[in-house]
């Protein structure tokens, strides 16, 4: 039984946490792709930037001597998301909008987003250095343990408070996004524009407003994802730059431009990564009497150094076998 709980703690919780981060990032990427038709590479760094905004706000609050029962980084999230959305709008106004007006090709916008990536990275490192920051310098990171009321189970199910908050806020964000996209006028306009921009325009949808709202949502979601990731692990300047590719992989897996697909893709990738590096011999050990071979000490699908590689491999295979993703994406 303990082995099963170990499996749950390691693989299931790990997969859900990683999947939530990927899903939150991939939704932003896929929204921008659906509306603006380009792969926004700077999304990872917008996540990191959001994390740093939250860090600054949290340390300001902590310096003011205010204390909450929840982690400070989580309390300041709404404000950080507003600021990050403002930054996203500013980035679009300064760097992407002029190119769009000129009628530049999506590829040009992609290269511009690389430039934005470099600028954000440079600025973050300029102001915060290359060190690692933690949200939990002044307060403890709470662990939640749930004892399993089953015979023979001595280990508890364990996860940290930020992980729980991450999953909850992902669910809330996804539901809110769903209602926004399906019920509100603006959300319907967004979906219409993703389907056919010209038709949306002649139908009287304010496409400029839709673009602005897209950036606001993408910036806020990026801030949410970055902060929650930083709460779970630690905040460093290349926090999200390293996972921007798995995020793209998740978005492509779900079909670029397809919001629900991105969420599904995120969780598929999160589980694929955790299960690929999970030590399966632990789960096989209870059956050691019935198995015909000796169980090695470590039996993983890939070595843990290749954890991120799993996502890229899935990405390449998906691009080859089914480039439109699980759900048919908005490919042109």
């Amino acid at each position: 039984m303990n082995d099963l709980i170990f499996f749950f703690n390691q693989a299931i919780i790990g997969g859900v946490v990683l999947g939530s981060v990927y899903a939150l990032g991939a939704v932003g990427v896929t929204l921008i792709f659906g509306i603006l038709r380009f792969a926004h590479f700077a999304h990872g760094d917008m996540m990191t930037m959001g994390g740093f905004i939250a860090l600054v706000l949290a340390s300001l609050l902590a310096a003011a001597g205010i204390a909450f029962p929840l982690p400070m980084g989580f309390i300041v999230l709404p404000f950080a998301m507003v600021i990050a959305a403002g930054f996203a709008l500013g980035i679009d106004r300064a760097f992407y909008a002029p190119l769009r007006v000129r009628g530049a090709k999506p590829v040009t916008l992609l290269i511009a987003s690389i430039g934005v990536t470099m600028m954000i990275q440079g600025l973050i490192r300029l102001f915060f250095g290359v060190g690692t920051y933690s949200f939990f310098d002044s307060e403890p990171k709470k662990l939640i343990r749930i004892d399993v009321p089953i015979e023979g189970a001595t280990r508890p199910i364990a996860f940290s408070e930020p992980q729980l908050l991450l999953v909850i806020s992902t669910v809330v964000a996804v539901i809110a996004l769903h209602y926004f996209l399906t019920r509100s006028r603006l959300g319907k306009g967004m979906r219409a524009m993703a389907d056919n921009p010209d038709l949306a325009k002649v139908s009287g949808i304010n496409t400029r407003l839709v673009v602005r709202v897209t950036w606001i949502i993408a910036g806020a979601l990026a801030c949410l994802a970055g902060t929650m990731l930083a709460l779970d692990v630690a905040l460093k300047p290349d926090l999200a730059f390293n996972i921007v590719l798995p995020i793209f992989a998740a978005a492509i897996l779900g079909g670029l431009g397809h919001a629900y697909g991105a969420i599904a893709g995120g969780f598929v990738l999160g589980f694929a990564e955790t299960l690929a590096v999970f030590n399966w011999s632990v789960v096989l050990r209870p059956f050691r009497d019935v198995l015909w071979f000796d169980i090695p000490n470590s039996l993983t699908l890939v070595q843990s150094e290749y954890k991120l590689t799993v996502a890229f491999l899935i990405l390449v295979v998906v691009l080859l076998v089914r480039p439109t993703g699980i759900f048919k994406g908005a490919s042109t």
Binding site: F95, I111, G115, G129, T309, V316, L319
Partner: protein, 427 residues
Amino acid sequence: MTMRYIAVFAALIALIVGVGVMMGTPFTVRLLVEAFAFALIAMGLNIQWGFGGLFNFGILGMLMVGGFAVTFISYPVNMGFWTSEGPLYLGRTLLAAAIGGVLIFFAHRVQRFGITGKARGTVIVVAWFIAYVIFRSQMDPAANYITSTAGWVGGLGLPVLLGWAFGGVLAGLVGYLVGKVSLGLRADYLAIATIGIAEILRALIKNVEWLTRGTLTVSPIPWPVPNPQAFQAGGASPSASFVLARGGYLALVVIVVLVALFLIHRAYRGPWGRMMRAIRDNYIAAGSMGKDVTGRQLEIFVFGSVLMGIGGAILVSFVGIFDPSSYQPINHTFIIWVMLIVGGSGNNFGALFGGIFIYFVWVLSEPLAQALFLNLSAFSSDMGWGAIPDIESRAVQMRVFVMGLIVTIALRFAPKGLLPEFIGRKD
């Protein structure tokens, strides 16, 4: 247009001379060697993006492959490995890989035995899995044995120039595979696919310690020309020895770059180049004129990769150390794009100019930012606000910001680059 070329290259020479006066000759010669190597890589990207319109974000992977190739060819032979049972183990691994390959080959042709549709897909997946298990069952013991006894495979001890050539060949081979896999994709997808493959390559080269020594790094890698130590043994002063040795290396690199420039410029102006531009500008029209679009694109991808591989090999043998963990997307992929965009994509001289110029800006923005920060810091401490902490580490990061700023400004105000593509008309 000619005036523009003269002005741009004159400004570049003035910049180089200025740096030489300010920072000293040994430093400038070092910078020039690296800048020319980067110019070669930018020319490789120019073939892919400028001629063919193919998006490649996996330059880093090609550079690593080239670097590994030159390390493998030119590093002295590791007798400990060849006298141990390592080769035997590797032979078994090779056999396992071959068995797996045959298995996969037949699985992909299973429809001939009447198995089609989903059943075929299942067979293929199972075959890949079995092949992977067979391979891992031989690879893991071999890797453990080699790392625990001889450390790593070692090099072959052959001439460095052969290593450069091998770097090009190996990168071309990898480019062929990458192109075969991903060239059917649209631009954005191609960008993401190539960057994904490059990251896979990076993880592989970093972690196969038995072959590349991974994070333990390999050094010293020999030079193709007499190195500073050789000159010092001959009685030259340290400063003079650096200038002489690096000068020799520079001459060699410049020859390589000029030969490459001559060849690709001839190709660009010839019928082959016209065909490539036709495919780039309208592949549907080119295809209907009977051009083999996919085949030609693959060709161009391989050509570009060869130049990148050679450039990567030159860089590694110049610094004399192969450190897989030093490769970063910003330093080895994005900066090449900045070079090409600023120089002018589609123009070989633009790639040459952009490569050298941007590399100088990249390196020089660090001391410039440091000087700026020192002044600001002095000002702020004069004002009683205290000095800026960690000026050195911050100044290093300034250059990333400068690169991003340059590329966004270039895209907005000079999207065709400083030396735009020149299209001759013969009416």
